[in-house]
Amino acid sequence: MKDFLEGSHAVAHAVKICKPGVISAYPITPQTHIVENLAEFVASGELKTEFINVESEHSAASVVLGSLAMGVRSYTASSSQGLLLMEEVLYNIAGLRLPLVITCANRAVSAPLSIWNDQQDSEALRDAGVIQLYVENIQEAVDLHLFAFRLAEDPRVLLPVMVCMDGFVLTHAYEAVDIPEESEVDSFLPPLELREKLDTENPLSMGIVSDARFYMETRYAIQETMKEAIVIMPELKKDFIQITGRNLNVFFESYKLEEAQKVIICRGSVSGTVKEVVDEMRDEGHKVGALKLISYRPFPTEELYRALKNIPLIGVLDRAISLGSSGPMYTEFKALFQGKEGTPKISGFIGGLGQRDITKKHVREMFEKLDGEEITCEFINLNVEYLMGARKYT
């Protein structure tokens, strides 16, 4: 049955039916509606969980670190500054192989202070050992949250999974979404059974110091698991489709890639705009397509290569920037084709920082620019008049 829900509330519903034992969070816009709605479920008795509103995001992440170490399913959510404050703890959670599910309501990072949407915050967590999945719309947010719990808690994975959804654009928008029945979720998501956890009957030490003889192996193990996750994710996806009867993309979504000469690669809610432009341009006879990346970590290299190897012109639209280099996704795709036959011409665009508009006009311009020389890092929809004393962008 479909419900007309706000993005944040849809996520809260999805989390509710996964029945976490502990939820801990600290308010930050635009994440707050998610945990507020969960607090309502707890108050009304619909959700039996320990809900703890703590004194900072650092504490929120630490609370779920503790509850997960006890083997209890746990959930938290944050944005921007809050997520960055959690960073230290999230590295810890990944290193301890604890299956946290966390929502990132993507928001720009200050200074200057901006509560608006881009994807710089989750990009900063790229290397933490956290699986990152980006959603385009609210239904995908619901589905990928259910998938995230299953993936994180798979005994072969045991890594935190972060579901990234664009702040405001998705968290505060309404959409008719299908929330699965609790019984369906129960058959998809078995109760959490951690083999190694804090247990008074079987004492063990967790997270103690590891010297040069052992540390590197722990990182190697996470890297290997990330690679294995590429094999495991399609398996779990099959289960999901079987239970919900709904398709789910877990690596990426190919949109009109057949015979495409030009493709824009994008991530998150902007994909809707890109796809619409693709439709229009296809109607006009242009051979264009789009690829929406969902799984950023692990990065499904082989699968992406197979999908894109025949495309001569590619544009990558980043909604974050690795300052001093270029768009982080752009770098990934450049590396993906390095040394391979028939390397396409790949251009990089930066757009939508702090929720600057990316309209259909801008997407069309990007497609047009792919015909010209390869661009490394071009800001789209930049207002040169506002640069004031800063060096003029050339």
Binding site: P27, T32, E36, N53, E57, A111
Partner: protein, 270 residues
């Protein structure tokens, strides 16, 4: 720059109207600060307002002197840096209860312990207003908020006693209803050398009030009028009773050496 005598000189009138809700107490506290600066004739270039995030964090936009906004919760920490780098600057941190007591609670304790020459005005509206009314560390037990729909299960934090015990030179508490006392306390705080702290209970009818049957600003002001007890009376209450009352009065006024003075003395003794 000439010395100002009029409090209006400290307000950036061209930035008004402000974005605070009708019935918010931030403006009363801000005026209290402007009055104190005018009374002491502190030139505008010699005073800095540091803010955190949330509703009170917008105050920095409405003053005509220096203002600085860094990361959420770290205001007192970067004020410490500003203070040691520029000791002749009068620093006023204008913070909310969340910034001051929750995410930045650690910095509050240690700045008070070190006795850094700062004034912290804590605007206590008992809630996280900007993010939609979640409970904060000062929200009294059993209160309702958007994250405590069945009543808050932990006790509100007594920040004044905490800061006093930590070693501050000046600690006082009042409400925006008791304006004369408020103005006096702010004036005393900024003329104190060392760490000074004033807790200012302020109405948030939009969130705290709405959730707790105090839907209008006048109702909240009535609440302050009834529930703010002089320190002597407040001290007689049990912990449970204190959740229903606000303290008003001065806790500490002393002249311990501040951090920088002590630091320079230690250096000179070597």
């Amino acid at each position: 720059m000439s010395i100002s005598q009029d409090y209006t000189d400290y307000i950036a009138w061209d930035r008004l109207p402000h974005m605070w809700c009708p019935g918010c107490g931030n403006g009363i506290a801000l005026k209290g600060l402007a009055l104190a600066l005018a009374k002491q004739g502190i030139p505008r270039h010699k005073v800095l307002m540091a803010t955190g995030i949330g509703c009170s964090g917008r105050a920095g936009s409405y003053v005509s002197f220096h203002s600085f906004d860094g990361t959420h919760g770290r205001t007192i920490a970067f004020c410490t840096g500003i203070n040691v780098a520029q000791p002749d600057l009068k620093i006023v941190a204008f913070l909310g209860d969340g910034d001051c007591g929750a995410i930045g609670g650690n910095h509050l304790l240690h700045a008070a312990r070190r006795n850094n020459d700062l004034t912290v005005l804590e605007i206590n509206n008992f809630t996280y207003g900007m993010t939609g009314g979640q409970f904060s560390p000062t929200t009294p037990a059993h209160s309702f908020s958007s994250t405590s729909k069945h009543g808050k299960v932990d006790y509100g934090m007594d920040m004044c006693y905490l800061v006093a015990e930590a070693g501050a030179n000046y600690v006082a508490s009042t409400t925006v209803y008791h304006t004369a006392q408020l103005n006096k306390f702010i004036n005393e705080a900024i003329s104190t050398r060392g760490f000074s702290f004033v807790e200012i209970a302020s109405p948030c009818p939009t969130y705290y009030g709405r959730h707790n049957n105090l839907r209008s600003a006048p109702e909240m002001m009535e609440w302050f009028k009834e529930r703010a007890l002089p320190k002597e009376k407040y001290d007689e209450l049990t912990i449970e009773e204190k959740q229903k009352y606000i303290m008003r009065g001065r806790l500490v006024q002393r002249d311990r050496e501040d951090f920088l003075t002590m630091y320079m003395n230690e250096l000179n003794n070597e």
